[in-house]
């Protein structure tokens, strides 16, 4: 039995307007798992993922990561914990006007002193490491191009490289392929999977493409109306379950 790396207990998120985005999420994640979260848009997938590193502040609950509660951490503590959580976004979120390699180097900011990092004083070693990570995502030729000269799929691979450079133990990917064509989607997912296998990252990916989810996941979590609706290995995800996850309204069908 693998050790539990992330334990989420009674996680709730209510927006100021009263919308209950997350009602009561309990989830236990083991080291090295590749989890894909599926569910209709507006179900709370994104809020859930963003709650884990508190880009979206949870209303209540516990998120135990490496034995410590992220929800209770103060700013300085949170910064330290975030270094261990890489995040990949739908919109890539690179600094478009900076060279690719600089964007990868940004993964190291959390480990640097504030001013060294702010002024971008990366040393030779750090630059070489960033270049070698770019090589691993197949972008060594693009290292000194500006990020916005790259295609969408390439930009997402740079974002993966940035996350790898954080040397995290978990990677969160929020709809990483939603704005990519099928071809680059596959390439990005392959690189993400490869990186996670090689480095032993635990990975949580939000996807709305069920076929991709089935192909890459070890375990699938279905979220509907802010609650976990399905949680199990890919082979247990029947077409009926998929249909009821994506069905409108609330049919009673507990896990």
């Amino acid at each position: 039995m693998m050790e539990t790396i992330l334990e989420i207990r009674q996680l709730k998120k209510t927006y100021p307007d009263g919308t209950e985005a997350l009602k009561n999420i309990n989830l236990s994640i083991k080291r090295g798992e590749f989890i894909v979260i599926i569910g209709p848009s507006g179900a709370g997938k994104s809020t859930f993922l963003r709650s884990i590193n508190r880009l979206s502040e949870p209303t209540s609950g516990e998120i135990i990561f490496h034995g410590e509660d992220i929800v209770k951490a103060n700013r300085a503590k949170l910064r330290k914990m975030r270094r261990n959580i890489g995040m990949i976004f739908q919109g890539f979120n690179l600094v478009k006007r900076l060279p690719t390699v600089r964007n990868v180097l940004h993964g190291k900011l959390g480990y640097m002193s504030t001013w060294k990092g702010a002024l971008g004083l990366f040393n030779q070693e750090e630059v070489e490491e960033a270049l070698s990570i770019l090589e691993r995502v197949g972008l060594e030729d693009q290292a000194f191009k500006r990020a916005d000269e790259l295609s969408g799929g390439q930009q997402q691979r740079v974002a993966i490289a940035r996350a790898i450079n954080q040397s995290p133990s978990i990677i969160l990917a929020d709809e990483p392929i939603a704005s990519l064509d099928p071809n680059s989607s596959r390439v990005v997912m392959d690189y993400l999977q490869k990186a996670c296998q090689e480095e032993g990252f635990t990975t949580i990916v939000n996807l709305h493409q069920v076929d991709f989810a089935k192909e890459y996941a070890d375990r699938i979590v279905g979220i509907k109306n802010g609650e976990i609706y399905f949680d199990g290995p890919v082979k247990e995800l029947s077409d009926d379950v998929i249909q009821s996850i994506y069905a409108k309204g609330k049919e009673a069908m507990p896990v």
Binding site: N53, L55, R79, K80, M81, R82, R83, I85, G86, M87, F89, G91, F92, N93, L94, V95, K96, R97, L98, H106, G107, L109, G110, Y111, M112, T114, W115, G117, A118, L119, G120, K145, R146, E149, A159, R162, A163, Q166
Partner: protein, 269 residues
């Protein structure tokens, strides 16, 4: 329906003629009140002719001091701009509502910038002359503070338009606030910041020529001296030098803008 339209049109017509009449009445009233009567205008044309006659050919008795004064004006403009840019960068980050640490502080800074902007550079120069005495220092301070009024506003607007995804991405990597701003936010708005700063330098060079008139250093003082001594030929020479200064500033800032654009275009290829 049609009838309504007709009456509306008539009303509009009446309104317009009332406004035209009022504007005309105000014009006449102002002329009389300010004692601008035709004979005075005619007389001033005579005087203008005399002044123009004495302007040519333009001369200068002290080419060295004129040259130093021109250089001093440019120095005042450059230092004032640099000081203004540096302070504005700090203030704009605190003023932008997506980056500020407190919205109230943001409003306070925007209010301050609005006030500073509303007071003309010349008034600031007079205030600073009282505070620090004559010379280039009050000129530099006046231009700096006047620049802050404008730059905080335009920098702040540029900052408020950035893609917050960049901020989220760097924060989620454990970057601190200062790191996020210097590594993520500033590179994203550098183009807008450079363009506005160059524009402001251009404006400040124009202002710096004027500031000397009140004693805040630079070439304006030379113009003042020549005019007070009725040396119109010297005044013209100073004016020509100011014209040259302003023109070359404009050409230079155009060139730098083009170069900045060319650099980014080159990076795109």
């Amino acid at each position: 329906m049609i009838k309504n339209k007709e009456t509306y049109r008539q009303q509009k017509k009446v309104q317009n003629s009332i406004f035209t009449f009022l504007a005309f009445a105000f014009f006449i009233f102002s002329m009389l009140q300010l004692n601008i009567v035709p004979e005075r205008i005619v007389r001033s044309i005579e005087r203008l002719g005399y002044i123009f006659g004495n302007m040519f050919p333009p001369v200068t008795n002290e080419p060295v001091s004129l040259f130093t004064a021109a250089i001093e004006s440019i120095q005042v403009a450059i230092l004032g701009t640099i000081l203004g840019v540096i302070i504005s960068l700090f203030l704009a980050v605190l003023a932008a509502k997506n980056l500020t640490i407190s919205p109230y502080l943001g409003y306070a800074i925007k209010g301050f910038a609005g006030f500073v902007r509303a007071v003309p550079a010349l008034i600031w120069a007079l205030l600073f002359i009282v505070a620090v005495g004559l010379g280039p220092t009050p000129g530099i301070l006046a231009l700096a503070i006047n620049s802050i009024g404008m730059l905080v506003k335009v920098y702040g607007e540029a900052l408020e338009e950035i893609d917050m995804g960049i901020v989220e991405a760097l924060e989620s990597a454990g970057a601190s606030k200062v790191q996020v701003i210097l590594q993520g936010v500033f590179p994203s708005v550098m183009k807008a910041f450079t363009a506005w700063s160059l524009f402001r330098l251009d404006v400040n060079i124009r202002y710096s020529a004027i500031l000397g008139v009140v004693g805040a250093g630079g070439i304006g003082w030379e113009l003042m001296k020549a005019a007070q001594m009725s040396r119109y030929d010297e005044a013209l020479m100073v004016t020509i030098v100011i014209f040259g200064m302003v023109m070359s500033a404009e050409v230079l800032s155009e060139y730098m803008k083009k170069r900045a654009n060319a650099a980014s275009a080159q990076a795109l290829n």
